[in-house]
Symmetry: C2
Subunit: 162 residues, 2 copies
């Protein structure tokens, strides 16, 4: 897995698209069914919630501590997607390290899929590197897998199956 991080994506995987916008893939099923959520890392969850309430008239529909990930999340529903305000619950969590290194801001994007395992497989086949090689429980009862930003254009991606 580690060796894949530094690898460039094989050229052949892109030749079809550059030749004509993915003609070989026209019949493929689009795996992404929704932008499930955008996760925003914040220092103070209450302040962030209050800002979204005041600025947008938003309200929190779900709130959860995810011990495994060392985060507390507050979800604001926007149409069929969520803004996931996320704070660290301890200093060693990845979100705490992100905050220490880069400050508050967008942490990752969650793409909703019908089949998390199949989506991981497809991303890996396209050259991406999984953080979770097997889907595992996420918040609000979902099944999720994270994909490493390296190999995915600097974007930490969470695949979310409801």
């Amino acid at each position: 897995m580690a060796s894949r991080l530094g690898e460039k994506l094989p050229e052949r995987q892109f030749s079809t698209a550059s030749a004509g916008w993915g003609s070989a893939y026209d019949d493929r099923t689009m795996l992404l069914t929704e932008i499930d959520h955008v996760a925003i890392a914040v220092h103070d969850l209450e302040r962030a919630i209050s800002f979204y309430e005041t600025a947008f008239g938003a309200s929190v529909v779900h709130r959860e501590v995810v011990e495994r990930d060392g985060v507390e999340e507050a979800l604001i529903k926007v149409a069929d997607s969520y803004v996931q305000l996320t704070a660290a619950t301890h200093d060693d969590s990845p979100v705490a390290k992100f905050l220490a290194k880069r400050g508050e801001g967008i942490h990752h994007i969650g793409y909703r899929v019908d089949d998390c395992a199949a989506a991981v497989e497809s991303m890996v086949a396209a050259g991406a590197t999984p953080i979770d090689t097997e889907p595992r429980p996420g918040s609000r009862g979902t099944t999720v897998a994270f994909i490493h930003p390296k190999g995915a254009f600097g974007t930490l991606i969470e695949l979310v199956q409801e």
Copy 2:
């Protein structure tokens, strides 16, 4: 999900929020109607497009050079939202500077609103700082305004009125 909500959400956490902010806004209209897009800054637009095609079976539904912003965008439709792959068209554009400083990754989030000017006003009233004080043309015929990450929890926000 409703039962999960009840389990995970201690009442007092909500009452605290409501005591501070929510009660006066309970009747407010939620201004955000959709996560319009997530913009991902990339060095090579063709490679990024090809990755999304290969990994997800995605296809580009709109492509546009926005001279004013110094970017070329490729939009991938996901339900009623977009993934906006964005490359710089010249070295002085904000996206070029972002790429030079932070590398590829999520650049901003676009929130869809019914009234861009009203949404800017509401955000400013909540303490945010506009980059565009007046709404102006965006890509695909939209009216947009950017809000500075400072004062918005590190998140560059674009308000998008279709």
